[in-house]
Amino acid sequence: VRRPRLRRAVPALLCVLGLSTAACTSSGDDAKPNAKNASSTSVLDDVKTRGKLRCGVNKDVPGFGFLTPAGTYAGFDIDYCKAIAAAVIGDSNAVEYKPLAAAQRFPALKTKEIDVLARNTTANATRDGSDGATFATTTFYDGQGLMVKSSSKFKAVTDLKDTAICVLTGTTTELNLASQFRGRGIAYEPKPFETVDTLRQAFVSGACDAWTSDKSQLAGIRSTWPAESGGPAALTILPDTLSKEPLAPAVLDGDSKWASAVNWVVLATIQAEEFKLTQGNVDQMRTETTDPDVKRFLGVPLEAGKPPFDPGLGLPVDFAYKVTKQIGNYAEIYDRNVGPNTALGLPRGQNALWTSGGLLYAQPYR
């Protein structure tokens, strides 16, 4: 009676041992390729072989990143996703959009669920440091503001004593709000929300007196305020600016090749505006220009028969041409999505070229 039992026990024991050794060996195998991936292959190569750019975006902010009624994504940040795809893959439509909530975006970047984050994200030290993001050149200089109902008595931040203020959780806005109001000694109550929809309902019903966010986003929300609620005129953005919010695309730390590529796509849009290259004239300029700087920029050989200029960024030599042709220069991207003739109606302000008193300045392409 006893022996069969022993026979049954032995395989079970072996099984346990086998399981643990299997786990050990697989752990060794797993660890090595991972380490290799991190050091030698860049996301730049991954995107090229995949033929698709995975872009983390917003779907709720008109003008910057939103889902149109037709089911397509549009906006300023979306155009930068397209520009990167045009530069790396050659096709501005080769983008897979991943809509992300504010609190999800850095985890999504860390877990390599997305290649690049273009979701009205403020560049700051913590995000550059412990959040593991590397930021490209700022695409939009923004600032935090407060929006109130026009019918209210609030005219400035100092009027907001003892108010409730709606804010999205997981944003720098929430932290700025705390430090700014503390600094000014204004008692207030934060109302944190996960989604814009719930926040909007709370604001409409008067559960909070003000809505704080980046001014560009507030302008976007104001522009699409429904007519039955009084239209854009029913809302006022207070003149105070609570913080600097430089919005920039971000990639994961530890991949400088990819970071450089993304950065130079942003710089190319700025440089294209400086060269007065537009979607309309770039084909013509490419054949007719005599300016060596423009020739280098568009990937045209300086002299016939010689190879075109390649700075070794890992991007095609004519990436700037592709970006300009398919998406346009910075001014075109700006005017199309958020400029004075759009619903947002934001003046260029700080987001003008350095030659016209703005902050946009591209490093030389040579």
Partner: protein, 376 residues
């Protein structure tokens, strides 16, 4: 006989050995996973310690003294307090409503029975998150604005920023603690008197409870603090945040349907013969329920009831959807500012685990008592 004993010993040894090997294998696995995680985090340049808990939080939490210069640990403490408050109130209300619904479902009254069924089938079959969002967007936000609140009986302030209720002058803590103490004393004295077979022991217990009630009232300030509203500021009373109102309402509606079904099922699970036997002994219908049916039903009810309490406590994390600063929301805000997610979430899990184990321990105690009473 001797041979059998030896064999028994060997078999036992073998069993212990197999289990030991298992334990070592599982322990090794966990250790390997843990070291893998921390090695990878280090490789990616993330911190693996818990020093973030003593860093300043940088954000504010509504409805508390907490401000942005306090530490992350303090923020999580406030979050835990809010979670406990919402769960405790939710458990009490869900039990009361659940009992009512369960009894309604068994009522001989046609209308009550149908209403009970309708209630159960409506709220049991809608996701609890949907109920909470509905309560917030369609009910709480439709309360009047803070400048013109409802003042039922002049005692409370009801607005879409929250509900302020009258409270004892020195708060609820002295009131509840003295009351609990009084109840314990009353229970002990009544039990002692019962053992001696004293008559009128109920009267003695009731007297002690009455004294405790008066003492509790006196220690809580012997008066009411009634909330007063002026503009956007409310002073006095105790505040229930708008998010908590919606959260607790949603949790109570959802959980009470399950508790109601439990109550109904447990009462029906008591064999019919028990009631009939009690009737044959000449017990009245209320005595039949109180002395025969309910004690047996309780024994069936308590273990699954504990599950419902655990679910309610864990579901309170859905407060994140309506902006109520319970522990999950606080942790999310902390991780999105500067706190490392794996460590912060491990703290979050630890707190939920502790709360759940506490509830399980309390209901187990109750269960053991009920079983003991049954065996006596």
């Amino acid at each position: 006989v001797k041979g059998t004993r030896v064999r028994f010993g060997v078999r036992r040894l073998r069993r212990v050995a197999v289990q030991l090997v298992f334990l070592v294998a599982i322990g090794g696995m966990v250790a390997w996973l843990g070291s893998n995680l921390s090695a990878n985090l280090r490789r990616l340049g993330f911190s693996t310690d818990y020093s973030f808990l003593s860093q300043p939080a940088g954000f504010d939490i509504a409805g508390s003294d907490f401000d942005s210069s306090s530490t992350v640990l303090e923020a999580m403490r406030v979050g835990t307090r809010n979670t406990i408050q919402a769960s405790a109130v939710g458990i009490v209300l869900a039990t009361a409503l659940g009992l009512t619904v369960g009894i309604c479902r068994l009522s001989p009254n046609w209308l009550l029975r149908r209403l009970g069924t309708m209630f159960v089938e409506t709220f049991r079959n809608v996701p609890v998150l949907v109920i909470i969002l509905f309560m917030y967007l369609a009910v709480v936000l439709k309360f009047p604005p803070i400048e013109q609140p409802l003042r039922p009986l002049g005692l409370a302030v009801v607005s879409n920023r929250g509900i302020w209720l009258p409270a004892p002058l020195r708060g609820f803590v002295p009131l509840v603690s003295v009351l609990v103490l009084g109840a314990v004393v009353a229970a002990v004295v009544t039990a002692a008197l019962a053992r001696r077979g004293a008559r009128r022991r109920g009267l003695a217990g009731g007297g002690i409870l009455l004294v405790a009630l008066i003492a509790a009232w006196a220690s809580a300030g012997a008066g009411l603090s009634v909330p007063q509203q002026a503009g956007r500021v409310v002073t006095g009373g105790i505040r229930v945040q708008a998010g908590m109102v919606a959260l607790v309402a949603g949790l109570v509606l959802y959980t009470s349907t399950h508790i109601g079904e439990l109550v109904r099922a447990s009462i029906q699970a008591v064999p019919k013969g028990q009631g009939e036997a009690a009737e044959a002994l000449g017990l009245s219908s209320s005595q039949r329920l109180r002395l025969v049916v309910i004690p047996q039903a309780l024994r069936i009810m308590v273990p699954p009831l504990a599950n419902q309490y655990l679910n309610l406590t864990k579901n309170s994390s859905l407060g994140v959807a309506v902006g109520f600063a319970e522990l999950t929301l606080v942790t999310r805000v902390a991780t999105s500012s500067a706190s490392p997610a794996p460590q912060a979430i491990s703290v979050l899990m630890g707190v939920y685990l502790a709360l759940s184990l506490l509830i399980a321990a309390a209901t187990n105690l109750l269960n053991r008592r009920l079983l003991a009473a049954g065996q006596r």
